[in-house]
């Protein structure tokens, strides 16, 4: 009897599928695919270094533009260069993180149009993870690097009365900001199920949004600021928490405590993004050939 038992356990185990939460499955699959792309990227180390440097330089031009402006003026919309650098550094880093993790999703539209999404649907892992991890581009570290450098410059030159809340505010705003941008990427991807060039619209919100956040809110029209606060809540990425850290006035007479809202806003954005994605994926109908 005992022998039979032993033999049973020695036999090759069948492929067991257990109902793991889709999130865990998705993150795991994302990691697997990313690891594979990293391995293949690293096979061409020289090319990786070059594209990363290229990414760094091209994104750093944004800050060079701001520095050139400050060559002519001392303040921009009432903000000094180090203050603007704090806005810039936090939003650029947050956006860079989202772009690194989810930036590949703008290729979804093509997959929908030519029907190659079919092949992702027959695999046992969430499609979102597969689309996001596809051709993971580590060169996007370039953008994060320049964001962090500018952020570092701001922290060194700014004269801030640090409190524990202000210190915590920094990692919180970068991570929540990345999550908010990430949700915008996912919503943009969901729209690509309907309109294949929706990625252009999405770029207006992501790339356009991050450029806007690099400047103080005081230089923009009130309606625009209202839009990025209440409609596409990008103001929570960096403006509001950064203004809190700087001890400056908020736009639109918002109360002080909204600086603590980014994690909540990010969570809300992801719920909406998840729904939008689900609806989009359900509408997928493949192609005739």
């Amino acid at each position: 009897m005992a022998e039979i038992q032993a033999e049973r356990t020695a036999a090759p185990p069948p492929v067991v599928f257990s109902e793991r939460s889709r999130l865990v499955e998705g993150v795991r699959a994302y990691g697997l695919i990313v690891a594979m792309w990293l391995r293949s990227t690293m096979a061409y180390r020289a090319s990786f270094v070059m594209t990363t440097v290229g990414n760094f330089v091209s994104t750093a031009f944004d800050f060079v533009t701001i520095m050139l402006m400050f060559a002519h003026v001392d303040v921009l919309g009432g903000f000094t260069l180090p203050e603007v650098a704090l806005l810039y550094g936090t939003s650029a880093t947050a956006f860079g993180l989202a772009d690194l993790v989810l930036g590949s999703m703008d290729r979804l539209g093509r997959r929908v149009r030519d029907g190659t999404l079919d092949t992702l649907l027959v695999r046992p892992v969430p499609v979102l993870a597969q689309v996001a991890a596809d051709r993971f581009a580590l060169r996007r570290l370039g953008r994060i690097t320049q964001g962090l450098l500018v952020l570092g410059y701001a922290l060194v030159t700014l004269d801030i009365a640090w409190t524990p809340v202000k210190v915590l505010m920094l990692p919180m705003m970068v991570l929540s900001g990345a999550a908010i941008f990430g949700a915008v990427f996912v919503v943009g991807a969901a729209f690509q199920f309907y309109a294949q060039d929706a990625s252009e619209v999405q770029n207006a919100f992501t790339y356009g949004g991050t450029t806007m956040l690099q400047y103080p809110p005081t230089v923009f029209a009130k309606d625009l600021v209202r839009g990025v606060t209440f409609v596409v809540p990008l103001a929570f990425v960096s403006w509001l928490p950064a203004l809190y850290v700087l001890g400056r006035d908020y736009p639109l007479d918002l109360p002080r405590w909204v600086a603590g809202l980014p994690p909540v806003v990010a969570a809300g954005c992801w719920v909406l993004a998840g729904l939008a994605w689900r609806v989009g994926l359900r509408s997928y109908r493949s192609t005739g050939s």
Partner: protein
């Protein structure tokens, strides 16, 4: 679910809403009934051919069986699972090969794609090794493992895809035109591989193709679909009766003569005359012997041969005689 109803379809439909621009801001809506009420059962371990003309609804059926598309109506189960509702759960149990497109990662060497499948499907290491070695040997992939998929030829890629679909020991394998564009040797290799797979592992196989040799060599059962409807489901041999097929008797006479006349035999007719050689068509169900005897009695017969009906023309006839047209 028992093994007899491993794949179950009851009145399955798929309607596509096609919108076409007919002018500025004007759109015309049209319904395409790609699959129009199909019912069949496939028992576990069977190998079935699924054939039909272009646009018949074969690929659409396969996409519903994999969960890529949600049926517009009817009931569909694979291994007791509703594919479109539990797509990822089903994915562990099925393998899919699309002849038209690859499931492999385009820019990566074959081996990397396989490695990723290994982790993604959580295939136990020993099973993975064993399955990969077997596929590499039988499908001749040894020299291709380090080549990026985009550099593979069509036939090489197809073999790579078939291997990828089988690493996780699927219970059912769907093949949508797996021999498209393959040369004779590759086709033979793929067919032999599939036959062994079905025989040794009793993997259920559903195969679409436009090459009827695939069906003749692999499938005892064949389903014919046209305009989204099943028009035949049964043994390959039975197609001849349904399709009213004819055999051909080729006779060589001593010299050039007018077409052979067999007055009392209306079902026999001369279809071609070329010098002393004549072709006579007669019903596939009739015996050739009495016919030969009668010709030999009345004509100077030198040689003769009987040609079996060409399955391709049988099916072609079936497509056009479809009442749905």
């Amino acid at each position: 679910m028992d093994d007899m109803d491993f794949i179950e379809l009851d009145g399955v439909e798929k309607v596509f809403d096609v919108r076409r621009k007919t002018g500025f801001m004007r759109r015309e809506r049209r319904e395409v009934r790609a699959v129009d009420g199909i019912s069949f059962r496939v028992p576990r371990g069977e190998m079935v051919g699924y054939i039909g003309p272009n646009g018949a609804g074969k690929s659409t059926t396969i996409k519903m069986l994999t969960g890529i598309l949600t049926p517009s109506g009817g009931r569909l189960r694979v291994a007791g699972i509703d594919p479109s509702r539990e797509r990822t759960k089903l994915a562990h149990r099925i393998g899919v090969v699309f002849g038209q497109r690859t499931t492999l990662w385009w820019d990566l060497p074959l081996r990397d794609s396989y490695r990723l499948m290994h982790r993604m499907y959580r295939i136990p290491d020993s099973r993975y090794r064993e399955n990969l070695d077997r596929c590499v040997e039988l499908l001749d992939l040894g020299a291709l493992l380090e080549v990026p998929v985009r550099q593979l030829s069509l036939g090489q890629r197809m073999r790579g895809d078939i291997a990828a679909a089988l690493l996780h020991d699927p219970e059912v394998l769907y093949l949508d035109e797996p021999t498209i564009g393959l040369d004779v040797i590759s086709k033979a290799k793929v067919r032999e591989f599939l036959r062994d797979l079905n025989a040794e592992r009793s993997t259920t196989v559903l195969l679409t193709t436009h090459d009827l040799t695939d069906i003749e060599q692999l499938c005892k059962r064949v389903m014919v679909i046209d305009h989204g409807r099943l028009v035949y489901d049964g043994a390959l041999a039975g197609l001849h009766e349904v399709g009213e097929s004819e055999r051909t008797l080729v006779v060589d006479l001593e010299r050039e003569l007018p077409p052979i006349e067999l007055g009392s035999e209306p079902s026999v007719r001369v279809v071609k005359v070329e010098g002393p050689r004549q072709w006579l068509a007669f019903p596939a169900s009739a015996s050739a012997a009495p016919l030969v005897a009668r010709i030999a009695a009345g004509y100077p017969l030198v040689d003769l041969s009987v040609r079996e009906p060409d399955i391709e023309s049988v099916i072609a006839k079936m497509y056009v005689s479809d009442p749905a047209l």
